[in-house]
């Protein structure tokens, strides 16, 4: 099962290595990982999308992450109310004749063209991973020359539904 896990870490050299190293050592599969600074000085946040077999493995993963000295807080936010976004840059083969056709495809996705050349277009799209997947699928017939994705980043919404409304996952049940 896919889980979205965030880790707040000290912004110190070697932290990313420690985190990815432990994932590899304990045989966890990283789907995507994105890291960046936060509102606080010296603090970064990692958003990991991982594929874990079961709850026991998931618990082990969050515990192992928590154990790292430079990791301040680990949350599994998969089942919370969250905003999660990813950005993708897609370079599509396109002659001038096809441009408006492609424009028509990407418009409902609120994607934008950020670069145009004689025979290609670069498209920027932001959204949940499945939305990005959908756009990629639509563009594939035109010929994708290059694709770059940032990986998911996410945080909790300002308002969380009451606990009773959630099928929440507890570490200690």
């Amino acid at each position: 099962m896919k889980r979205i896990i965030t880790a707040v870490v000290q912004n110190r050299s070697g932290v990313l290595n420690r985190v990815t190293g432990l994932m590899q050592k304990r045989q966890f599969n990283i789907d995507s990982i994105s890291v960046g600074r936060t509102e606080s000085d010296g603090i970064s946040k990692m958003t990991l999308v991982v594929d874990v077999e079961d709850n026991q493995k998931l618990e082990q993963l969050t515990k192992q992450l928590n154990k790292q000295i430079d990791v301040l807080k680990v949350s599994d936010i998969t089942d919370k109310a969250i905003v999660a976004r990813e950005l993708a840059l897609i370079k599509v083969v396109s002659t001038s004749q096809l441009r408006s056709e492609i424009q028509g495809i990407i418009e409902p996705f609120r994607a934008s063209i950020i670069d145009v050349s004689k025979d290609s277009l670069a498209i920027q799209v932001t959204g949940k991973p499945d939305k990005i997947e959908a756009l990629i699928d639509l563009l594939r017939p035109y010929g994708i020359k290059e694709l770059a994705r940032t990986g998911l980043t996410a945080f909790l919404r300002g308002h969380q539904p009451q606990a009773s409304e959630l099928a929440s996952f507890s570490l200690l049940k």
Partner: protein
Amino acid sequence: MKVEAKPTQNTDMKPKTGADLLVQTLIEEKVETIFGYPGGAVLPIYDALYRAKDSFQHILTRHEQGAIHAAEGYARVSGKPGVVIATSGPGATNLITGIADAMMDSLPLVVFTGQVARGVIGTDAFQEADVMGLTTPITKQNYQVQSISDLPRIVKEAFHIASTGRPGPVVVDIPKDISANPCEDTYDNSFHLPGYQPTTKPSPLQIKKLSDAIAKSEKPIILAGAGVLFAKATENLIGFAEKHDLPVTTTLLGLGSFPGNHKLSLGMAGMHGTYTANMALYECDLLINIGARFDDRLTGNLQHFAPNATVAHIDIDPAEIGKNVSTQIPIVADANEALIQLVNHAKESPNHYEWHNTLNARKVDYPLWYNNPQSEMIPQWVMEAVHKVTKGEAIITTDVGQHQMWAAQYYTFNKPNRWVTSGGLGTMGFGFPAAIGAQLAEPDSTVVAVVGDGGFQMTLQELSVLQERGLPVKVIIVNNGALGMVRQWQESFYDKRYSESLLSVQPDFVKLADSYDIKGMKIETQEDLINVLPEVFAYDGPMVLDCRVLQQENVYPMIAPGKGLHEMIGVKP
């Protein structure tokens, strides 16, 4: 051209360097003993140590691996962090085995490695190795010092992290220009580790849950691991077990955490544990794990591990709880704190007469056993003989393999911190240097290095240190001319195809000892050993005993790989 040596500078005049700052911090941390080996990148540090040589004893081992295993032995016996210094590149890579060993067995170490100067890091400079990359997966934490003003803080953090919570090794990589350059007299060394706040007090709710479970249990058992030793909780463990009439088994590393001769003791559990202990783990309805990590050599096949038990697990490392065995009562705490709470919990618990009767009957009917034809030197008998002469009070260190299991089985440990062995990583060559560290930690105790002929040859260069320091370590080589455990597995599981496990050429260990000016003896009969042992332990100096034991002897009883606790083979018929 004539080169004139400049007169040496007055040391007081020299500006203070990063190395001096390091040394000053080590003094503040009350370090007394340092194990190390100099080299290019740590020359400034060794120069600073030279200036401060009255503050420390520095033990120059003859290989960096010897230094780090000695530091492990020191840490295991003293409870204080072992301190190691090695140079960059090969110096650092030679430490890797020991760092991994300390990580697996939770030993507090602070390891300083030299590094090439900051300006050339990453250029494949002479004796450069990526120490951070190499040590990240096998350290509790590691640092590369990037600025001299960080050095004192990092060293303080390193000692704090190594010795608190679940102990472990911490590496501090110091570029040569950091240690060589002049610096200010002092820097702010205060630190704050928001991501590292080990929980030591148990949750009262979980303690109550466990107390209730004990009150209901008919077949309870305590499994005591090395966490009890790190928490210095032996006394409270005895109190708790006695109050609730609970039988106690220990892991390999937990030997000595509960007296082996106590009436509630079932002996060691696991692959070569006692039949009684393993069957008790199999049949129990409540398993109270205190400071053990359910290693596979303990549990055997997990499907058959305590299948009917409620599992309670007390551990200071939350990540150990539920890792291998699903746990109903998790208690994250220091073992001693948890035991104090448990002892104070007023609840009376029933006597477990029936359970104890079963266990006691098994202790009598299926004890550890071996055939003892007096014409041969039987290794198990050697261990018992050593136990007798040392009154069970010696510190025993071992490598890994047959001799380790025999020492664990037949040298009954009745006190904590007498047992120094490589459990998790299973490192050959560990025992002898570890004995050096143990002896330095406790100069007045009897220290016996029980080693195999294979493992001893991996680190025997440290005989120089015994001689140089006059350490009265007694080395007992359980010499069967083979890599015994490998040979045993080949006999049992590979149709006696002894592939590369028989050592047909051996040095003459007596002459070898002699060449270091150490007394050596070759012992070939039981009578010889009985005659010589009192003399050996009365002698106030190092000694090497080459005990020629029966090669074909195997370690039993045993849980074969993949089998469950209840499927022991080689139990006394």
